[in-house]
Amino acid sequence: MFNPENLIRKGPPKGYFKDVLVRGLLGGITYLMVLIAVLLFAKIIVDGAPAIFTSKFPFVDVEFLTAKNETLHVFDDAKGTRHQLPASKYSEYLNAHPGQEIYNEQTFSYSGGGIAGPIVGTALLTCGSIILALFFGVCAAIYLAEYAKQSPFIHAVQLAILNLAGIPSIVFGLFGFSVFVLAAPVITASPIDRSLLVLPLLIEGWALSFQGWNSSLMAGCATLACMILPVVITASEESLRAVPQGFRDASLAMGGTRWQTIRKCVLPFSLPGILTSSLLAITRVAGETAPIMFTAAVAAKDDLPWEGLTNPFGVLSSQVQALPYHIYTLAARIPSSEYTQRAQFGSVLVFLILVAVLSFGSMILRAKMRKKLKW
């Protein structure tokens, strides 16, 4: 007998379980990644927070952020009290308690004091390289987006950008070392009064001499700038191309020259986009270690870069500490113990907060930009 009920299939549809299984698997993988990321941050925050946050106002350990980096001395005095003092306070302590014996002394390099040197160094390196890269990168992007027609030259430029973007960072380190540290001093070696490369400045006695290459701030900046140039060019070209063609046509129709058009009608509208994407480049520059290992960074430095200099441009030819290199030193060169944890996890947390602020800033700005600039 015909039963219409038979036409309706009972139970879950065909392939339902397979569907659920595959979706669950893929979703599981995805959320596993998210979980791992969250765990990583949790670990760093939990271990690093005691180093840089305090329970009292202003809730941030200002000393850790503003003091210079020193060797940490850990020792017991005769009463069995444990002291942890950075090198300068250690000698003060010894002077204050002459004749007293100390026991179980241990020293931990780079673990005492604060991380002012590395923070300042990273800031200088980042600023210098981003200024260089933005200047040359934006100019190159203007050419590519506004002037260029199909030609062998443009093909070569595009190929070069593509290849530069793929070069491993350590190869940039080798390049910076051989060009800016070894070759550049030879080229610029002639004395200041005879050299053709000297630009006298208006202020008395100061001159921009392009000398002082070697392992230095400017060598590091130049290397990093070469590294992020392709990123900046690509991003700038994209935001230049996003400006509607009508803007240019209108300006040209009014009799404006090409340069006037670019200056008044294209650049102002693409500038926010360029700056936003360059934030991403800053994140990358701040985090790179390999290119500055041989070109700019030192593990230990007593002074901040500008201290003890007569000419302010001397900063450019001084070596600096850098936060990523400092973290590398802390991780690789010193044995881990309970006394080095503060320096290690504290530096990493500060560094990560810096990077997080930069990259979240660029994400938010990008989202805002997309909403605001719709033509």
């Binding site: 995805t30 990583l40 009463k79 026991y103 070569a156 793929g166 350590i170 690789a332």
Partner: protein, 635 residues
């Protein structure tokens, strides 16, 4: 497009009439900035080659000295010696693994008790030393201070007793007993707690009982070991004489170089007096032609002895083979034994071929430039700064890089592509908004931070996991080294997942919506649409994503420098999959580690640049392939 003004001819500034104009100048300025990228790329290539190419002649000279001084001759015998030693160590490992496997229970109990005791000692050590070292403790004076120190010690002890490692193989009562003995232990005591000593004694006894049936195996191993003694002593004798010759040759080379520098300076010198002086210096620096023939003749006198020792060794090795046990009870012991047995015919073959090699070797054979090239590309050792001979072989570094890349991609490909498919095809918009930024943010984490986490956290966790009994079946577990290929691979996987994810997601996004609509119109389920339509359509994009991920993994420096373990050796593949749990070194890591320490311009320094060139070519090749795949698919 040139400014419209430039077309107006006669009017305007005179520069304009000659084809110059402000507009053109600006255009030229921007074009030169674009050309800067080409300039930088060329500069990179030129300087890498400039520093790197000097490597091959320099290395050729080193290899020539290696031959002329007779080091190569000694190395023929030395290689046999080390092969013999390797087989011996394999047999010994088989023997130890067999015994330890049989008394595993005792071994674990003894180890756990010792670990607990050691952990306690480490924790209370500083406060205890303070009591023992204090002068007051000797003289008996100043009881007050001692009391303070003792109180500190007790406090530290109480703290230490709460932070002891777990002991899964000890019974509750035993653990309790051990902890009690530690609690009541006087600060001055130096002997081990009774339970630790007892368990150790039990372990030694168990070893004894289990080693009795293996007596014959032990004797075989010992016989085999003594067979190599003669070879060892003759190699040692020859080593001394050839090292002396090498030193003479090297110092002659240095003098020669000095002379050339002086002569070059002399030709440039303007002042004739100074020039005369430089030329005189150069003449004084002229080295006597180093005498290599004398020592070489003495070395050649050893030839017959060397041949004789090898012939004896072949006999001895052949005799030992039949007396090896057929099988062993423990799996890993059997694996070692089988590896040793499979190496046997090769060893005998090599030993038999050696006399021929020894007799045909002459120190006067020329060393062509191609020898340096081949030795670099196929050399199995990277030895630098050694007393014997520096070798710059690419293989150990390339193998390390490759194995790390394999681990990283094995993890990152399924995770990255799986997540991309899920986010693009199945996830709700709200999920997308959560997952995408998080994964993008992983990309922003600097590599040195990941390396730091690997060294501080992940390596330790991984090793602890590997000591679990339930995971013993995985080859290579428990892991010996905290920092190894697998640890580095996992962290690099974390780095390359975002790259693969975002590129693969882009590729899926770029598939025209009509594909999915058509598929659904035909009645396909979401799953079928995703896997039979979308993924195949985006395949080339996904492939490009994987290749770019590979490029990133190979070129990454800081993570591998910190986490890969930095041992320059080809991993021991006799361990099977366990080879992935050994430390290794990489192409990128070696540059970062050694460039800061080498003398500028030395062969070693140039070798690092050649590694840089290799890396440059490899990564650019991978990236070019990826872009080729992408552009072909777009057509």
């Amino acid at each position: 497009m040139v400014s419209p003004n430039s077309s107006s001819e006669s009017s305007g500034h005179r520069f304009q009439r000659r084809g110059f104009s402000f507009e053109r100048a600006i255009r030229f300025f921007f074009a030169s900035n674009a050309g800067l990228t080409i300039f930088i790329l060329l500069l990179i290539i030129v300087f890498l080659l400039r520093e790197g190419l000097g490597f091959f002649p320099g290395y050729r000279r080193e290899l020539e000295v290696y031959r002329i001084a007779g080091l190569e001759f000694v190395d023929i015998s030395r290689e046999n010696l080390s092969a013999h030693e390797q087989v011996t160590s394999l047999l010994n490992r088989a023997y130890q693994a067999e015994i330890n496997g049989k008394c595993l229970a005792e071994l674990q109990r003894s180890q756990e008790a010792a670990a607990l005791y050691n952990s306690f000692s480490d924790q209370v050590g500083p406060t205890r030393d303070l009591i023992l070292n204090n002068p007051a403790a000797m003289t008996g004076g100043d009881g007050g201070m001692l009391a303070v120190l003792r109180a500190n010690y007790e406090a530290q002890r109480a703290k230490a007793l709460t932070k002891l490692p777990t002991t899964p193989h000890l019974s509750e009562a035993e653990r309790e007993e051990l902890i009690n003995s530690l609690r009541n232990r006087p600060a001055e005591a130096t002997d081990e707690p009774p339970l630790v000593a007892n368990l150790n004694a039990a372990f030694v006894a168990a070893r004894q009982t289990h080693s009795d049936p293996l007596q014959k195996f032990r004797e075989t191993i010992d016989n085999f070991e003594t067979a190599g003694m003669d070879l060892g002593s003759i190699v040692m004798e020859m080593t001394e004489s050839v090292t002396a010759t090498k030193e003479i040759l090297q110092s002659a080379d240095i003098l020669e170089k000095d002379r050339k520098t002086l002569l070059a300076a002399a030709t440039n010198a303007k002042d004739p007096v100074e020039r005369e002086k430089l030329i005189a210096d150069a003449k004084a620096s002229l080295a006597d032609k180093p005498d290599v023939e004398g020592p070489m003749a003495m070395l050649m006198e050893k030839k017959p002895d060397c041949v004789k020792v090898h012939e004896q060794l072949v006999g001895a090795v052949g005799e030992v083979f039949p007396s090896l046990p057929d099988t062993l009870t423990q799996a890993n012991a059997l694996r070692y034994l089988n590896t040793a047995k499979s190496a046997w015919p090769v060893l005998i073959e090599d030993l038999k071929a050696t006399p021929g090699k020894i007799n045909s070797w002459t120190h006067t054979d020329p060393v062509p430039l191609s020898a340096a090239f081949i030795s670099f590309l196929t050399g199995k050792s990277w030895v630098t700064g050694g007393e014997w001979q520096d070798f710059y072989g690419l293989i150990p570094l390339a193998v390390g890089s490759l194995m790390i890349a394999i681990v990283a991609l094995t993890i990152a490909i399924p995770v990255g592509i799986g997540a991309a498919i899920y986010v693009n095809q199945f996830a709700a918009p709200r999920e997308q908004a959560l997952v995408k930024p998080v994964i993008e943010f992983i990309q922003a984490i600097p590599s040195v931070v990941l390396g730091f986490l690997g060294i501080m956290v992940f390596g330790t966790i991984l090793r602890e996991i590997s000591t679990l009994d339930s995971l013993n079946w995985i080859p290579g577990f428990p892991i010996d080294e905290r920092l190894n290929i697998f640890t580095a691979g996992c962290l690099l996987a974390l780095m390359s997942v975002p790259t693969i994810f975002s590129l693969a997601e882009d590729a899926l996004n770029n598939v025209p919506a009509a594909y999915a609509e058509a598929s659904e119109a035909l009645g396909a389920s979401r799953l079928q649409t995703a896997f039979r339509v979308m993924v195949p359509a985006a395949f080339s994009g996904i492939l490009a994503a994987v290749l770019l991920g590979l490029g990133r993994v190979i070129g990454e420096t800081m993570v591998v420098l910190l986490v890969a373990g930095n041992r320059i050796k080809i991993p021991d593949f006799s361990e099977g999959i366990g080879a992935f749990f050994q430390p290794s070194h990489t192409l990128t890591g070696i540059i970062a580690q050694e460039l800061g320490e080498v003398p500028l311009g030395s062969v070693h320094y140039r070798a690092l640049f050649v590694i840089g060139i290799t890396l440059f070519i490899t990564v650019l090749g991978i990236n070019a392939t990826a872009h080729h795949v992408l552009t072909r698919s777009k057509k």
